[in-house]
Each structure stands twice: as structure tokens, then as C-alpha cells.
Amino acid sequence: MNNFLTDAPLPFCKGCGHNHIAANTEKALQLLGYDPMNIVLVTDIGCHGIIDKSFLTHTVHGLHGRSVALATGVSAALNNPDKKVIVFIGDGGATIGMQHLIDAAHNGFNMTVVIHNNFLYGMTGGQPSEFTPFGFKTPYLPEGGVKTGYDICKLISAVDGVSYVSRLEGISDFSKELAEAFSRKGFSLVEVMEICPSYGVKSNPGMKLSKVVEGAGLKIEKFVDREVEAYKTVVKSELKPLFNEEDAIKTLFATTLKKPIRLMLCGSAGEGVQAAAEFLLKAGITSGLNGTKKGSYPVTVGVGFSAAEVILSSEEILYTGSPNPDVICVTSADGLEYARKTLANMKGGKLFIDSSLKAPETKAEVIPFPFRERGGAKNSSIYNIFYLLKRTEMIPMEALLHVFNENKIAKKFDLGKMFQALEEPFYAEINEKTTAPM
């Protein structure tokens, strides 16, 4: 029979229930015929956690309250139900790590959690815990607990995916109950009730464990006992690279762009600003240029401004910002607000702006066009970039058409209608022509 504990005395106070849990754990593992090398004991912070040195199994001793999460990682990585993961945790750790307990139970990670519940924090002097029952006294709670402590077994029993939950008193021989829990697939939990000899007994003289448990309204029973699907970690072996040389963009067009051009597209979320910027970027690359695209947006998705800075250059692009862009395209009021500071600083260049908006003071050449009216809000950015190329020819229109038509968006888009709309004069132009001589 394998030994699971060293011959050295256990490191706990005389009369502490932790001694019984260690001894019964060894006996339970012997009953099941386990090899110590198939056991990983994960311990929390608290008196119980100093048991590591006494166990002959693998041991991992972590942080306060996190042992169940730590064991989750061990269990998920081992991915082998024959390797048994056991967690020792106290009532303090179980409170800190309640989320970890619920999560491990919910997912059915292979492990058995043994909660050492002595109703108080033994390591730090006997402060009350969230498990301290009504009326139970500790050195820091001389009047006794004022509320009912957590019923952890009830809480965990409510979680789907748990295979076994039981509460028992940590006296005499409870190795068979522990063995039952250890033998389960998936997540099992045993709460062992104890009274701390140093602080619990002294503060509640003559009180018996069974009375405390009964007085707290806690039931000594098996709460859950069922077959569940234990967690299996998916380990994929057939994985494709994220990118391939075959997907490289070929240079199909040429451009006469002499110096780098920096553009800023500013509009509203959901109106295709980022997509339009990517079309420009790809069109530039298809024309043999280097390019970058930097997106800006608020934290919320789907509302507020959306802006993108695109740089196209025949040289290597280093700095990817555009504090002084050559071209700003504004298609909405949100976009205008975003661009206002940059527009005020512009010393030249062009501003393409939806004609529904009032252009602010700027030294850029202002080019209004009714993008929203002609294309609708959703298409305003797409209309904008085609109009931009019509007016500036910085990269070939064919390049933009090529990358646009490659995209699935093109199938739902009426290019003919757009080009017609981009040709037609609009009221501002008419107004300008009629008023210009004056």
C-alpha cells in the first residue's frame, strides 16, 4: 500500500480537524489504490496550507483564495482523469475564491475540493469569516455571529455541472466519504466541519461541533451525487497559419504619387469609415505603394465618431500618425467634431465635407459634396473615397474599383448609380456658380 504522508508529525495544533482531514485523505487514496505520483495536491493560504510538506504527492501551494483557479489550470492542462487533482482550501479561501469554485463546478473540471470549514480565520488570530454561524463566538466576535454563514454546499449544488457535493463532520473515520468524492469524474466538493482548537473552542467553551452545525441550520448530508460530463480540454492539432504568402497583394496598377500622402476619414460609427479607409489602403498597395491605416473610435461600439488615418507612400512608412494630414474627409457631424482640432491646424490641403455640414475656419481648400444625401448615411464614406479619387487622382480609380469589386460589399452596391450621383451638380455648386461673379 502506498504512503501518501511522510512519517513526520503533522504540522497542526493538537485536536485540530486538519489532522483528521490529512489522515483521512491518505486513507481514502489508499482505499482507491492511487499512486502518489498520480495525485496533485493544490493548497490555499491558511493553516491547512502548510500540509504540503507532509504529502508525498505532487504539491502546488498558491495564493489566498485562488487554489481552485490554480487547480483548474493544472487539471485542464493534464487533461487526464487518471491524474487526480485535489484542492485543500479553508472557509476564508473559499469566500475569496467563490467565483473560482462556481466556475470550476460549472465547467466540470476534474478535481475534488475539500473545504476545511472551522468558521473562522485561524492563521491570523480567529477573526470571523463569511462562514461563521449565527451565535458562534470568536476572539474578534465575542457577542457571536450576527448572521447566518454561507451554506457553501447549497450554493455549489445549485451549479450545473457539479458531480458530487457533501458535508461531513471532521471527526472519526470519514475516509470512505472522501474516497467517494475522489473517485468522481468532473467536479466534486466536500465540506468538512471543524472547530478550531485555538480560537473556536476557547471562545465557545463546551460547545460541540454537532451543535454548532445544527444551530447554523447546516445539514450533514450528501447534496449532489450524479454522473456528469467532465471537462475535456480541446487540443487542436490541425492549425492553419494566420497568413500566407499566397494571399499577398499583387501590384497591378501604377501611381504617380511623388510624396507621401496622409488622409484622415472622419464620420460616424456604422457608416463604413473603417471599411472605406481599408479600401483606400488596399488600393494604394495594389498601386505599388506602402500603406498604413490607424483607426480611432470611442470605447462604445456602434455609436459616436469613427475615424481612420491612412498614409500612402512609395517610401517606407515609419511614423503612422497624421497630425497634419493632406486630406480630411468628413461625412458626419460626429466626424466634424473629431476633426475640428486638426482642421484648425491645417496649413493647406483639402477638406472634403458633407454639404449638410458647416465647414469650420481652416486653411484647407473646402470641397463640399452631398455624400449623405446621394449615398445614404451608410454609404457616405464609400461615396466619399470614390469622389476623392475623382477629384485628386492620387491613386488610380481603377485600383479602387479593383479592390472594391473583390469585396463582397460590391455585390449589394450600385456602382453605376454612385458614379452618376458623383457627376451630378448639387445646390452648393450651382449656388457658387451663380453667385461667383458678384
Binding site: 504539491t59 502546488v60 495564493l63 490554480l70 492549425l239 494566420l242 494571399d247 501604377a254 494604394g284 500603406g291
Partner: protein, 374 residues
């Protein structure tokens, strides 16, 4: 129309390169919780790494990673300050247990929740003091897209060789900005083969030789008992109060980094003959620094550039390089000059100028002004 002669390129972001690099180097699992601006790393990992876990929070993330790492597998996560702050106690645990792992920290504008969609270089001071006791937590950085490919695998090798968590420091624009990029000339990245203890003698988990790095053996192995502990411990991994053996073991955690730093030293030094000014930068500000240097040289000025990639602990060679110059300019996107403070302290140095700012990338023009001013 005649086509220009250019090598074909892909439109990529740095995140893709980082995750592909880690996948090829043999990272086993990504465990993480979403946070802007680190989400691309999350989604690419889900597609590309053998295993993927959506953890319920960042404390769970680091704990799961630690558990994973005890079994000899290599875990990766990505987060930003709010998530990293939650991870911090567990990072200390991983450090004390000597568990190799990679934490990609994508910096964004703070304090607190700050602006999730605005980049920053504001977390270096935190990293410099992240380990209780002032121990060195290795931090590496990147300076361009090519580094997004090469540095993750190197950082992973470093984490394994030194048995330590490594922080891979980035910023929003470094991993989210799209750029045309040729992958044709990228170095091959080979799978890192982990070496585990193979002896027949009893395995002593924290016993070390000259390298000061203990041999690794996974928990769950069938031959030797393995212990990991986050508390002060002796070579056997047994909790101690302040025994000499245990405190020597704790000191070793610092010494191993100092002793082995040369094997994991990464920087780019662009020296110009006759230059009296050294421009120092890292991360997102490296690109603006390169542009500033290019412009200065084109106008006949002289300046050398040191792009730092091994950030912490600070390699002594950086000071040797600095000693050659009359003036230094350190450009970084934070308010107080965090790297400058790490190098020169609060009192600073009259020969050192900082170019700093928040909420927007430092411009080449500002760097040029600082380099060229008397």
C-alpha cells in the same frame, strides 16, 4: 498602365505576427479575458493556438496559466492595465514558483479605466516595481512590425530559459494599426523544445547549478515528486520562514536575471560617426524616433539612435553606450518619462532631455526639436 515593381505584401497588424510567432515557437495555450485594445491578440489566438480558454476574469486567467505552466506547457495571455492590475499578485506567484509564461501587455491611456481606445506607454514604472521586494521582472518591447514577428519567440525562449513570467510590452497602435508588410523575408521560427529533468536521483525542485535556473519537471509526472510554492521556500519547495537556504533561494530569483541577461539582450543601435547626441526610444515611439533621425540626417545633422527592446532589468550595456554621448534624448508616450526615471532617477541628469506626452503619439517633429535644441 505599367505596373510598378514591388514585392507583394499583405495588409497586416502586429497582433497577427505576434500570435503566429508564438504558435510556431510552440505556445500551447492562450488564456484570457477580453479588453480593449488587446482583443485582436485574443481572437487570433483562438484561431491559431492549440488550446484556448476564455477565463471568467483576469485573476482566474493568471491562476489558470500558472496551473497550466506547472504541467510543462507554455501559456500566453494578453491584457491592458486594468486587467494586468488584477493579475499582479498572481504574476508574483508565477515569479516565485518560477513558471515560464508570456503576458502581452497592450498599453492604453490611464489612470484607471482611462481611455480604452487610446494608446500609451504608461506602464513601465509599474512593471519596474511589480515584484514585491524590488525583484526584476523581465520586460521586453518591440519597435516595428518585424519585431512583432521576431521578439515573441525570443521572449518565449527567455521565459523558458530563465523559468520566469515575461511581460511583452506593446501599445495599442503597435498591434492594431494595419500596414502593408512583406512576409517573404521573415526568419523561420522553430518550435522551442522544452527540456525537463531526466535524472534518476530524487528531483529537488529549486536546486540549481551555475545557471542559477532550476531544472524544470512537470507536476503529474510518474517518476519524481514535484513541488511548486509561492511562499518563501527551500530548495525542496517546502515553506520556510527565513532559513538561510530559503532566503538564498529568494535572492537567487534576482541574481539569475542579472547573471543571464546577456543571453536575452535585444536592442538596435544605429550609430552615426561624430554624433554627440543619442536618441533613446522604445515601443510605439521608436517609429517616430526613426523618422526624426532620418530627417535630421537628411538635413545634415548628426544623431545616433538606440531602440531598446530588452527593457527590464536594464542591461548595463545601455549605460556604456550612453557614456559615449554628451547629450541624450529619451522619447516615450507618458507624462513623467518613466524609462528616463528608471535610468536616471527623479533627480535626472542635466545632459538628458525627455520628450513626453499623453493621449497622442509623440511626433517626429517634437523629437527633432529636442535633439536639435542646444
Amino acid at each position: 498602365m505599367e505596373a510598378a515593381v514591388k514585392e507583394s505584401r499583405l495588409i497586416m497588424d502586429g497582433s497577427e505576427l505576434i500570435i503566429e510567432s508564438l504558435a510556431r515557437a510552440g505556445a500551447d495555450v492562450f488564456i484570457g479575458y477580453p479588453i480593449t485594445p488587446a482583443n485582436l491578440l485574443y481572437s487570433y489566438s483562438q484561431e491559431r493556438l492549440p488550446s484556448f480558454f476564455a477565463a471568467p476574469d483576469e485573476i482566474s486567467t493568471l491562476q489558470w496559466m500558472c496551473g497550466y505552466a506547472t504541467t510543462g506547457k507554455f501559456p500566453v495571455t494578453a491584457s491592458s492595465f486594468p486587467g494586468f492590475a488584477l493579475m499582479l499578485e498572481s504574476v508574483n506567484m508565477a515569479y516565485m514558483m518560477e513558471l515560464p509564461m508570456l503576458i502581452i501587455l497592450v498599453q492604453r491611456l490611464g489612470p484607471a479605466t482611462g481611455t480604452a481606445t487610446c494608446g500609451a506607454q504608461g506602464d513601465l514604472a509599474l512593471l519596474n516595481g511589480a515584484i514585491s521586494g524590488g525583484f526584476s521582472l523581465p520586460v521586453v518591447s518591440i519597435s516595428n512590425m518585424k519585431d512583432c514577428w521576431e521578439m515573441p519567440a525570443k521572449a518565449m525562449q527567455m521565459a523558458i530559459d530563465l523559468r520566469t513570467p515575461v511581460v511583452f510590452l506593446t501599445s495599442k497602435e503597435e498591434i492594431m494599426t494595419l500596414a502593408s508588410f512583406s512576409i517573404a523575408k521573415l526568419n523561420a521560427i522553430n518550435k522551442i523544445e522544452r527540456k525537463f529533468y531526466e535524472g534518476d536521483e530524487t528531483y529537488v525542485p529549486y536546486k540549481t547549478g551555475e545557471s542559477m535556473v532550476p531544472e524544470f519537471l512537470p507536476v503529474g509526472n510518474s517518476k519524481h515528486q514535484v513541488r511548486f510554492t509561492a511562499s518563501t521556500h527551500d530548495q525542496k519547495g517546502i515553506i520556510q520562514n527565513t532559513s538561510k537556504e530559503a532566503i538564498d533561494n529568494t535572492k537567487r530569483l534576482e541574481y539569475k536575471h542579472r547573471q543571464n541577461h546577456k543571453q536575452h539582450l535585444f536592442y538596435d543601435y544605429d550609430e552615426q560617426n561624430g554624433a554627440e547626441t543619442l536618441l533613446i526610444s522604445y515601443g510605439i515611439t521608436s517609429a517616430a524616433s526613426r523618422e526624426a533621425v532620418k530627417n535630421i540626417r537628411e538635413e545634415g545633422g548628426k544623431v545616433s539612435l538606440l531602440k531598446v527592446k530588452t527593457m527590464l532589468p536594464v542591461p548595463p550595456v545601455y549605460f556604456e553606450l550612453m557614456d559615449k554621448y554628451k547629450k541624450m534624448v529619451i522619447a516615450e508616450e507618458n507624462l513623467s518619462g518613466q524609462f528616463r526615471n528608471i535610468l536616471f532617477g527623479e533627480r535626472g541628469n542635466k545632459n538628458v532631455k525627455g520628450v513626453n506626452g499623453i493621449a497622442e503619439m509623440i511626433t517626429p517633429a517634437r523629437i527633432m526639436d529636442a535633439v536639435l535644441c542646444e
